[in-house]
């Protein structure tokens, strides 16, 4: 019986590899074939790494043959956002600045998945340096939404979301500074999780906003995301990242805990927000009923300062981005403008030519907002506002275990549809307050919207370091939802791509 790789969850692949149903090498070849067949239309990848993939798969097969214990992701093909270092690949951040940058070391999040037995398939497209919500700012090419290739996959981790939605890989990693995992997950109809800040090491992930960035997984099921989360935190806190913390490795174990009697927060005001489409609103309301039908109690809560988070975010983000991107001066690495007579000329022309427009805009804004006299008015006050937003969440979590809201105000938009950068910033209206507060959030697919027939999602948001409970609620929602793969079975591969390449013998 022929098996299609894209019909298997990550846990099923790992189980099959361990059981000898197929080898890791066969899985890797199937994934390579699927990428070969599909990525011409999706363009999720910036770089496919067949040598690394086959070498890792062979190591897994050899370990199994030798009777050694293999990790929980044994043979599972994974893709990494191209802001994560992996020795043997380039890390470009989808920027001309780093077009030829060879990774000199491997990011902790990447090595943790590889240590768990995963097979690295390559690096995925993104908005340049993660500045964007559509992956349109990539220096190299667009990524096409597998559900409608005339539309964006969301961003900034658009390539990672699309690679999973197109069935090229079952799991990928993205990074989320203001919604960059949860929004593309919503637009591509896959599960995407931003864990609590500090749960996953940021070491080796090119920084955008250091106090906002967090790495997290994409999958087509909540279970696969939980599996990846286990692997990401299994090694304990990363001594190379001061802000990383220990968290228990029990995301899978409690996945199917009942939610009966537990409380789900609803914020009525958010459901009436300008820009929220009817189809997303009704889908999220349906999600509330799904949880209610499993015995969860719906409780109205209030986050009075949530409206302040957009301004706070667009202060903190650019300031930290300016600082983090100052290092790209073309001296030690990165694009170097030839023939410059002076150092200052070389730096400023290298930065002008190496960075795209949005990267320049964010850095310019940050450089202004941090300047003396301005810092006090904006950055300092944004961090004060952050305290109030965090306190709002903490107060809400006194009353509820999780909060349900939209992930994206709308389904995927067309290329070029939103051209004004400040308008684009509103794509993240539901996600950024979670980065400000630092707690976890997850996008759960709810099937297709009634009007656009494109994927729509709900977002669940939980207290800091209660990511396990967040996944339990996400699984409960998934259990009661048919997103297209069957009731309770998670999200389907986008129909146009199902079964194209990727036969497992």
């Amino acid at each position: 019986m022929a098996t299609e790789l894209d019909q298997l969850s990550a846990s099923a692949i790992a189980a099959g590899v361990v059981a000898g149903d197929f080898t890791a090498t066969e899985v890797a070849r199937a994934s390579l074939a699927a990428i070969e067949a599909r990525d011409g239309e999706v363009a999720a990848f910036l770089q496919v790494s067949p040598e690394l993939a086959l070498a890792a798969a062979k190591a897994t097969d050899d370990a199994i043959a030798a009777g050694e214990k293999v990790g929980p992701l044994a043979g599972v093909p994974v893709a990494f956002k191209d802001n994560m270092h992996l020795v043997g690949t380039r890390t470009t951040c989808a920027s001309r600045m780093l077009a030829d940058y060879d990774s000199t070391y491997t990011a902790t999040c990447v090595s943790r998945l590889l240590d768990a037995g995963a097979t690295p398939m390559g690096k995925t497209n993104m908005d340049e340096f993660a500045f964007g919500s559509s992956t349109e700012t990539s220096h190299f090419h667009r990524t096409y939404n597998p559900w409608d290739t005339e539309r964006v996959p969301g961003g900034s981790s658009g390539g990672s979301a699309a690679s999973v939605a197109a069935g090229e890989v079952p799991v990928s990693l993205g990074s989320d500074t203001g919604g960059s995992i949860r929004q593309p997950a919503a637009l591509c109809g896959v599960v995407g999780m931003k864990p609590t800040y500090g749960a996953v090491s940021r070491y080796g992930v090119v920084a955008f906003g250091s106090s906002l960035d967090q790495v997290g997984p994409f999958g087509r099921t909540v279970g696969d995301v939980a599996l990846a989360m286990n692997a990401l935190v299994a090694g304990g806190r990363d001594p190379r990242d001061c802000t990383s913390q220990d968290c228990p490795v029990d995301f899978l174990e409690h996945l199917d805990d009942p939610v009966e009697g537990r409380r789900v927060g609803i914020i009525p005001e958010l459901m009436e927000a300008k820009g929220l489409t009817d189809e997303v609103k009704s889908a999220v309301e349906g999600a509330a009923r799904t949880l209610e039908s499993q015995g969860a109690e719906l409780v109205e809560v209030d986050l009075p300062h949530m409206g302040d988070s957009i301004a706070a975010y667009y202060v903190i983000g650019p300031c930290e981005a300016f600082s983090n991107l100052a290092r790209f001066d073309g001296v030690r690495y990165g694009y170097q403008e030839p023939g410059c007579a002076t150092l200052a000329e070389q730096s400023s022309r290298s930065r002008a030519a190496g960075f795209g427009p949005e990267a320049k805009r964010r850095q310019m804004l940050g450089a202004y907002l941090l300047s003396s006299g301005v810092y006090e008015k904006y950055y300092y006050r944004a961090q004060q506002a952050r305290t109030l937003i965090t306190q709002d969440y903490a107060a809400a979590y006194e009353r509820v275990d999780v909060i349900l809201m939209p992930a994206s105000p709308r389904s995927a938009f067309k290329f070029g549809e939103i051209s004004d950068p400040t308008e684009m910033y509103l794509s993240d209206m539901y996600t950024i307050s979670i980065n400000i507060a630092g707690n976890g959030g997850i996008s759960v697919p709810l099937g297709l919207g009634a009007d656009t027939h494109l994927p729509v999602s709900a977002q669940l948001v939980g207290p800091a370091f209660k990511d396990r409970s967040l996944l339990t609620f996400a699984r409960a929602l998934e259990r009661g939802t048919d997103a297209g793969a069957g009731m309770g079975d998670g999200a389907p591969v986008a129909p146009d791509f199902v079964g194209r390449g990727g036969d497992l013998a």
């Binding site: 060879d102 000199t104 070391y105 800040y197 500090g198 106090s211 906002l212 802000t243 913390q245 302040d308 301004a311 667009y314 202060v315 650019p318 300016f322 100052a326 001066d329 073309g330 001296v331 030690r332 690495y333 990165g334 694009y335 007579a341 002076t342 150092l343 200052a344 000329e345 070389q346 730096s347 400023s348 930065r351 002008a352 960075f355 320049k360 805009r361 850095q363 310019m364 804004l365 450089a367 202004y368 907002l369 300047s371 008015k377 904006y378 006050r381 944004a382 961090q383 004060q384 506002a385 952050r386 305290t387 109030l388 965090t390 950068p421 400040t422 910033y425 400000i436 507060a437 630092g438």
Partner: protein, 101 residues
């Protein structure tokens, strides 16, 4: 208080981003729009509120022991450098009067 084109040019010089004239005009428009978008922050009632610079609860005093760890060999350190000489990274003249005795 709007940012003038000169203001923006000054920021670009500090941030070492060479902007062409048309880019400078566009950037000035963007900067003013963005700053307008941030205006609400000036209105928040924040008296007596401590800032949260680190969204990590009460994490503090994170340090490592004074023990050496392996670094990069020279080839790897230089792998992405645009210009090196012998064992050094190389940059052009800093003051730009090179060659003038």
């Amino acid at each position: 208080m709007a940012l003038s084109q000169e203001d923006v040019a000054g920021i670009a010089e500090y941030a070492q981003i060479a902007l062409a004239d048309d880019e400078l005009a566009e950037m000035t428009t963007y900067m003013n729009e963005a700053v307008d978008m941030l205006a609400p922050i000036l209105e928040y009632d924040l008296d007596g509120v401590d800032p949260t610079f680190h969204p990590i609860g009460d994490l503090s005093n994170v340090m490592r022991p004074d023990e050496p760890t392996p670094g990069l060999d020279l080839d790897t350190a230089f792998a992405n450098a645009g210009s090196t000489r012998e064992r050094y990274f190389r940059v052009p003249s800093i003051l730009g009067d090179g060659g003038v005795a």
